[in-house]
Amino acid sequence: MQEQLEQLAENARRELEAIDSATDMESWRVRYLGRKSDLTGILRGLAGLPMEERKAIGARANEIKSVLGEHFARKTEALKQEASRASLRVDDTLLARGDVTLPGRPVPTGRLHPLTQTLNEVCDIFVAMGFDMVEGPEAEWDYYNFEALNIPAEHPSRDDMSTFWVDSPASDRGWKPLLRTHTTSVSARIAEEMEPPIRTIQMGKVYRYEASDATHGTMFYQLDGLAVDRGITMADLKGTLYEFSRRYFGEDRRVRFRCDFFPFVEPGVEMAIECAVCHGKGCRFCRNEGWLEILGAGMTHPRVLERGSIDPDVYTSFAFGMGLERLPMLRYGIDDIRLFYNNDLRFLRQF
């Protein structure tokens, strides 16, 4: 019995020595230390032995079991370390002789259209200042696009906004459908549909009936803003737009507010930012003006508020509107607005 025990220990040690994989380790453990192993069998069979022998063999068997257990743990640890060392060595098959500069496995990469990126960025700035996002119809009644905004028929301001007319019947009020020429049409609807206080931005596509060139498209994006409340002033308008510029263009760009005319505001404002190339001195990029026009704005005209049933003696309001394409054109130096709508992936994949 004793001999058998020693032989078993010897075999176990020798086999363990030769093992070099985790699966073999497991079968070794089952064979020598498991519930059905010989060693366990010997220990179970002790009961049938004389007292003397039982004591000696029992002690020896337990000793062997414990030693083998330690060997097993050491060997397991050693194998683990060996595996971990091996995993740090160059893998010839996977990394093709260790050249980590080889290109990775391609994944299809998607992108937002650069104008969507711009729109999201600009909207987020105004949303952070408490403006709610609104969309409106692209096919719109001429009333909201023009009359409600102080642009009556045969007004020269209409000449700057040549219109695509939609071939469908006039409304029972005699309004005719068109493709909106600016998102200010949505502002007119908001003034009519909402009660003050109002703080919204209106954004989307607008359309102009004019030949497209490098700076004009038949379709482009606009974003309009409207704030109506008691006590809103032109100082607030300047502050809001300045803050927009600071967040979009950066701290150090100077901003200029000058008088301009839009039929739906009075006083009217045009905001320009300093040319980033020449810092206001005048260069080719800014056509020697030193400033780049960004948006039009002003205090909402009292007649526009009245048409929306907002009492201009109680409420004051400011409004602003900008073309969106100009922002990425300035930021990335894009020189042709048509690139945004040609859907050429060689352009779109740059953003």
Binding site: P108, L112, E135, H155, S168, C259, L345, R346
Partner: protein
């Protein structure tokens, strides 16, 4: 509008530099887009006098001209016909910078040898100096200029290129700009003295005016000048017209144009002999009445247009263009001069309808005060009498049915502060308004100013108009910068806006590039989507469901698009040639349908298309081509991320492959389609390989994402997984099988892991193998429990679908 700074200086003292003037005007609302300095490059060009003219020995058409330029004489070769001894000319020495008349580019003058004779300089034409296009002869300067002085002293100028806003017709005049400069610099404006001598003949004895349409013509003034001698206008007047970009024509016409530019009032000179009975009638045109306008075109008028007529015929389209029949000619001796006021909208309509935008039209349609007619008429009468050498009949005819007293506008210091956010004193407000020509008087309270606008400011109507005047003259920079301090209004979200962002986020994650295209469609673009019509150019798509544009610029813009797929597939086709790897595109945009008694229906749609290899080829290997199940997997992933449970049916979309397409359904609502582009459509768009498309409607999708969602606790108990391989009819869909299995209790998940048809399955049948996970939320399932459910599933499948277990 081009404005000569020299001309402005005739009316107001300007001490600022041209750049400063431009900046002040720009900040105050009249934008100066650019400054053109005339004479900037004339450093070495001086006044010279021709002392001798000799023929060129070797060329008949050329002369040798000797010029005294103050510090010596040079001989130059000249081809101009107008050289004469004694004439003062612009002399450019060798090295001067001139405009090359052939290229229009600046160039340095070189010493040249022409047919054996050396030319040491040049006598310049206007074109070479960059003043005008004139290059027939050399520029002859007035006698009084001093030989040797720089040319820039006489002809130098700065031209302001101005953008005048539509509300300021008064600024379409030199005097108007001068008034702005005066107000901005604390100066005052000096108008020319328009006095002239009159004869004893009263104008009324020769001219009468009747206004039959006072709604369209509030005022008509006329004067009569007899004995005029038509000819060229003087140099100084021509220079003024040229500085604006107008061509001098004759002394009479030039005067009317000059005064229009000077005062802003369009005028018209008639040949009095052509006005029957000397009677002017202002009336609406007859329907279809024809007039030949000054440019020789025959114009057919309508009843809502205004004409100037005599007793027999129309002699001008009022405010737009004169008639050829009463045009001033070289034989004209008597001038009937008109200065009138017309309804701006009527003029705009007429000018636009006849396609005759003119300088007069542009001014009238912006609204010129009737009060301007008289001073402008007198100024023009004076100049015609002076330059045309005529006599002026005494008095003027003035018919003024639209005379109205100016309405005072009241503004208070509080009112200014309420709008601007900064206060100005009553004194500041008054002084600013007075500097602009307003008359101010105290109002009912200490803080009020009652202001009457000068007649030329037809744009002033409301207190806010005065606020703007104060703000723009004092300067917008004086207004502080504050943040909105009112509470943020309650949030009122439009869910579709953030939903679009969410869809984009997912699709970009799946490798899709967003595109944005125009919303146009045409018969041709729509036909390409219909396989049975795709290649038949003659067939017409019915228009009943399409929305036409009234005024498309091209045939491509016939309709507003009824779907997105046309644009998206076209973008795929256009990019296919440039892009090697797979293409995945999507667009979020609106499609349009007619809607009775309302604006067109606009539906937000999402359309995606994918084609080519699944991944870009690389050194690691080539990818398989994209197939139908890529498209479907993407839509399924998208729906899962949106939390929408959907099922799929065989589809019937015409543009898609008849079998490789499916309709997406949720709660009996059709959400959209997925499918392979129909091969004929693929051909029509010239897409080289199969393309797969999905199109879903946002209004259908959005409500399904808004329903409240509750968290499901994670069970502590283990799942039991069983496989079930079924044999069913080939026509039985996976959807039907999975719908049945899903319905049983304890079924947590069903995954299809194999589809097989072939040798080991009877023909007309297929095998579907599912892995079903069973789990209970409250106990560990026993084998028995699971087997029971598994058996009842099988019973139901065999009962309803004839399914049997695969042996």
């Amino acid at each position: 509008m081009k404005v000569s700074l020299n001309w402005i200086k005739q009316y107001v003292n300007v001490s600022l530099s041209p750049k400063e003037v431009a900046d002040r005007l720009t900040m105050a609302g009249s934008e100066v887009k650019g400054l053109q300095v005339i004479g900037e490059s004339w450093e070495s060009i001086v006044v010279g006098r021709i002392t001798a003219v000799n023929p060129h020995p070797n060329a008949d058409r050329l002369t040798l001209v000797t010029i005294d330029h103050g510090s010596g004489e040079e001989t130059v070769i000249c081809g101009a016909p107008n050289v004469a001894v004694g004439a003062k000319v612009a002399f450019a020495p060798v090295g001067a910078r001139l405009i090359d008349p052939h290229t229009g580019e600046p160039a340095k003058l070189k010493r040249a040898k022409i047919r054996g004779v050396v030319s040491s300089g040049m006598a310049c034409s206007e074109k070479e100096l960059g003043i005008s296009e004139e290059h027939e002869g050399i520029l002859i300067l007035p006698e009084e200029v001093e030989v040797g002085r720089p040319l820039a002293d006489y002809l130098g100028d700065v031209i302001l290129n101005m953008d005048v806003t539509p509300n300021r017709p008064d600024c379409l005049a030199i005097v108007g700009i001068a008034r702005e400069v005066a107000a901005l610099t604390g100066q005052s404006v000096h108008l020319p003295d328009a006095g002239y001598k009159e004869t004893d003949t009263p104008v009324e004895s020769k001219v009468s005016v009747e206004i039959m349409a006072p709604d369209l013509c509030p005022r008509y003034c006329a004067s009569l000048i007899t004995g005029v001698k038509p000819g060229e206008s003087p140099r100084w007047m021509q220079e003024r017209l040229i500085s604006y970009g107008m061509r001098p024509i004759s002394n009479i016409v030039d005067v009317t144009n000059f005064v229009m530019l000077e005062y802003g009032q369009p005028l018209h000179a008639f040949d009095y002999e052509e006005i029957t009975g000397g009677k002017i009638i202002v009336r609406r045109a007859g329907e279809g009445e024809v007039i030949v306008s000054l440019d020789g075109e025959e114009r057919t008028l309508s009843g809502d247009m205004l004409v100037i007529a005599d007793q027999e015929r129309a002699v001008a389209v009022a405010g737009v263009m004169g008639g050829a029949n009463s045009e001033v000619s070289q034989f004209t001796t008597t001038i009937l001069l008109e200065a009138a006021s017309f309804n701006p909208r009527s003029i705009h309509y007429t000018g636009r309808t006849l396609g005759m935008p003119s300088e007069a039209c542009m001014r009238f349609e912006r609204g010129i005060s009737p009060e301007l007619a008289m001073p402008a008429l007198k100024r023009a009468t004076q100049l015609i009498a002076e330059l045309g050498g005529g006599q002026v009949a005494s008095g003027v005819v003035d018919v003024y049915p639209g005379k109205a007293e100016p309405e005072p506008v009241v503004v208070s210091t509080d009112g200014v502060k309420r709008v601007l956010g900064v206060g100005f004193s009553r004194k500041q407000i008054e002084e600013t308004l007075i500097s602009l020509g307003f008359e101010c008087r105290p109002g009912t309270s200490e803080s009020e100013v009652v202001a009457v606008a000068p007649y030329w400011r037809s744009d002033i109507r409301l207190p806010v108009d005065l606020v703007e005047e104060v703000a723009r003259i004092i300067g917008y920079d004086e207004i502080p910068t504050t943040m909105l301090n009112e509470p943020i209004p309650p949030h009122n979200p439009e869910p579709v806006i953030m939903f679009k962002r969410r869809l984009s986020r997912h699709l970009v994650g799946y490798g899709f590039q967003e595109i944005v295209s125009h919303p146009w469609a045409s018969q041709e673009s729509l036909r390409k989507l219909l396989p049975q019509l795709a290649l038949r150019a003659q067939s017409q798509i019915p228009e009943s469901d399409l929305l036409r544009l009234v005024n498309p610029m091209t045939i491509d813009q016939t309709y507003l698009r009824p779907n997105l797929r046309g644009n998206v597939v076209a973008a795929l086709a256009a990019n296919r040639g440039n892009i090697e790897d797979g293409i995945r595109l999507y667009e979020l945009g609106r499609v349009f349908r007619p809607r009775p008694n309302d604006l067109p229906e606009e539906t937000e749609m999402l359309c995606g298309v994918l084609s080519g290899p699944r991944y870009a080829s690389s050194w690691l290997g080539d990818a398989e081509p994209i197939d139908f199940f890529d498209a479907k997997g993407i839509v399924e992933g998208l729906l899962a991320q949106l939390g929408i449970a959907a099922s799929f049916e065989a589809g019937t979309d015409e543009s898609l492959h008849p079998t490789n397409q499916t309709t997406i359904i949720s709660n009996d609502t059709r959400l959209g389609v997925i499918g392979q582009l129909h091969p004929a459509v693929q051909d029509a768009f010239e897409v080289p390989e199969p393309a797969f498309l999905f199109e879903v409607s946002l209004p259908a999708l959005l409500p399904l994402t808004l329903a409240g969602k509750m968290f499901e606790p994670i069970s502590r108990f283990p799942a039991v997984v069983r496989d079930m391989a079924l044999v069913v009819d080939a026509a039985t869909t996976h959807q039907k099988v999975v719908d049945i299995i899903d319905d049983f209790p304890l079924v947590e998940e069903v995954a299809l892991f194999d589809v097989y048809s072939g040798e080991q399955v009877p023909s007309g049948k297929k095998s579907l193998a599912y892995r079903i996970s069973y789990r209970s939320p409250d106990h560990t399932l026993t084998d028995d429990e699971v087997s029971k459910v598994q058996q009842s599933i099988l019973n139901k499948l065999s009962g309803e679908l004839g399914a049997v277990l695969r042996g």
